[in-house]
Symmetry: C2
Subunit: 503 residues, 2 copies
Amino acid sequence: MTVQKTSSGLYEDYKAKMRKVADVRNAMSVLGWDQETYLPEKGASFRGQQLTTLSSIAHELFSEDALGDILKELSSRSDLNAVQQKNVALSLEDYEKNRKYPAAFVAELSTATNAAYHAWIRARKENNFDVFEPLLANMVELKKQEAEILGYKGHPYDALLNEYEKGADVQMLDKIFSGVKESLLPILQKIALQEVPDKQFLHRHFPKDQQWQFGLNLLKDMGYDFKAGRQDISEHPFTTSFSPQDVRVTTRIDEQDLGNMTWSCIHEGGHALYEQGLPVEEYGLPSGEAASLGIHESQSRLWENNLGRSLTFWQYHYGNLQATFRSSLLAVPIQDFYRAINLVQPSLIRTEADELTYHFHVMIRYEIEKGLIGGTLQTKDLREIWNQYYREYLQQEVPDDLRGVLQDIHWSHGSFGYFPTYSLGSFYAAQLYTSAQKQVPGLENAIADGKYGPLLEWLRENIHQYGRFYTSNELCEKVTGEKLEFKYFLDYAKKKFGGIYQL
Amino acid sequence: MTVQKTSSGLYEDYKAKMRKVADVRNAMSVLGWDQETYLPEKGASFRGQQLTTLSSIAHELFSEDALGDILKELSSRSDLNAVQQKNVALSLEDYEKNRKYPAAFVAELSTATNAAYHAWIRARKENNFDVFEPLLANMVELKKQEAEILGYKGHPYDALLNEYEKGADVQMLDKIFSGVKESLLPILQKIALQEVPDKQFLHRHFPKDQQWQFGLNLLKDMGYDFKAGRQDISEHPFTTSFSPQDVRVTTRIDEQDLGNMTWSCIHEGGHALYEQGLPVEEYGLPSGEAASLGIHESQSRLWENNLGRSLTFWQYHYGNLQATFRSSLLAVPIQDFYRAINLVQPSLIRTEADELTYHFHVMIRYEIEKGLIGGTLQTKDLREIWNQYYREYLQQEVPDDLRGVLQDIHWSHGSFGYFPTYSLGSFYAAQLYTSAQKQVPGLENAIADGKYGPLLEWLRENIHQYGRFYTSNELCEKVTGEKLEFKYFLDYAKKKFGGIYQL
């Protein structure tokens, strides 16, 4: 039947099926958003069941034989345009990957994930990794199996990495992280010799309503479209998208910590601008999706750090911030503020780490995941390994599991291969921003005037509009002329922190 | 295959399939709730598409051959308990009704509804029924066809009525509404001769935050469980349920109108208490669903009117209300307040009508729907008929279509047969409440003390727990000893308004 149809007719069928899958997945995102923002306590159990049902429906729809037939037939047609061809190729790749998973394995993984998550919660309550360890061991075994199911050329961990960052592998990451070790460690050591800037004033009293309003204004200034999104409060800030026309962010507000809200707004705003910039007419298709987690993170971190922790950015906004929180900030000069928001200091908790030490947190997790999946590390030794790494790279004595090996949710979710995308995000951000600075005339002046239109336009044109058409590295090369190179981040770090700490 | 299974095994299969359908429908309710509360402007179009997709999935799941096979096999088994038997019988009835609709008809109806809705919006903008009329004519034609598809014994309108109120028919409603005409009209005529009580003080300034808090307190007092629900703001108040553990209400606040928020909270609270009282373990099955729209409305109106506009109720709450809105109410005696909130006065708009004249609004719509579906009325004459009825029964000259035939959304949605359930709700409420007053010892005293536990317990035990096990009339007879009788409402009205107006 598919053979007799015109390519454009078949492509429409493909689009309709993909949009149906997207509708179900986006409905799940709505339910997920509600779960984190407004769900009443007792609603959690049925909500979980409803999400499971939708997830299995999405899986069934995306595994339909009919979809496979259309995709295979379309792959053999020569009269599709480049975007159509790429969409079909990517969807077929996704489809075939999806079909590789035996139903029994999917069920086992789902049960194991549920058990591991609850064990992690329990282990955190008891502040004892041993409670989580056997479940984690089981999870690692399943993830090794998953790597075999998916297939890989070099290291089995490559298969898992590819789920989050297509094209990334151990070879690439080893190179990147040796850059981190070799070049960042000396900088950190020099900084450690300097006086620690004061940041106590960031922990004075910052009333909730004013913080909320200041955050909304930042988002508005960035170009976030409130007619195609909204901000709400949740325990952990996140961005979620139901279509490019409805991209929502959340934040949290701590009246004793201005930074919590401020940079979560800018960070999530960066994610959201990417989602709002994806092509509306490609809804449901790969070309309407983000390129990768690393590129997504590059957008949030470019806004949060390269822009949002720069002196130029705050030269425009600081007066307003002082006017909003007079009693807390009026006596604080901008230079002190700038040093405080860029304080570099090794610490125990990844999510609270500064721009530089952050990557050691990620590197440690990367080394551990690689070892676990490669079979050279065992979960039973994990506490010890973790604490050893923190001593070695961050000079931190880990006092307990809560502030150590139990701090992240990711492994309990079975997310192995996710952490590296955080660092890749920062490194892509530095490289992309360097290009933007070269390519956008008057960028620095615009930013000094609080105008981000030129930057956003550049991001839209060079990154957002392409969806998944290019892989991270293809995109990076197209925009910057090179594949990902750590040196751009290093240059950025040297310049910025060299200035702050007079290294 | 189904033949070899045990009945309990088969029943589990049935349950699993029904719960899957319920999960999808409840996901739709979450998306619908979000649409009315938090959806950003541009998100509407994709949201509509997502809802359509989920709706078609729910329809497919509920039309599966496999479900029909299980239901038919289970119907022939003799070893199910009474609840199981009833569930199977009701689901089979729903299933067969669902399968009666030809796919082409469903598509046509969906397109026509969409067109009619948008024409209604346009017609309202232009304040001109003629813009809506041709689309409405088409809708009526389709509804006549639907009546034929569904089948009926007496009047074709019976088939549509049954969609909202199983067992209701033209014969029953004619009798009820002749009661309205014969007995309520003389009361209204007597009231019209009395002095109109002052209600201007209800339109003084009532600050938003205090209204919001007062409404939340009312809900809490009623026994609404905030751990299994929440209140938000929407343009039109409504109740929606995602499971008995997550039943949400909305309200609206007008700072110039205390009544808007107050009785919408109590009304929606009544609906919500019903949904929160449905048996959790019967989720997805008929025994876990409300009996009918009429019974649902009986719950909201019992709380809103029989209780929430009674002197006893306000004798407890009025002090608090005065303390909350000192400048507006401190000088207003409770008797004046009580008369104001029970003011009877014919008007043009159904949703703003008082407890008595309301039923004339419904009767008019009932007569029109019956005529349209029966073929004795034509949409082209509708403006004239409408205005004529309002002159006859409510002594109102309709000044324009907005305040006339275009005021309700229902027909644009294709909801023919829905309006009568509003009046049935009031009449069931009066009859049920009369029984509660007889059966619950000390009910009046408890209410005077602001304690609604005994009433709620009685409703839970006599109504909520049964779900759809009984039809409205079966339930009414079981609880009150009689089928629905208009006289209970009449007695209530005579006593209450006779007192207020000294008739």
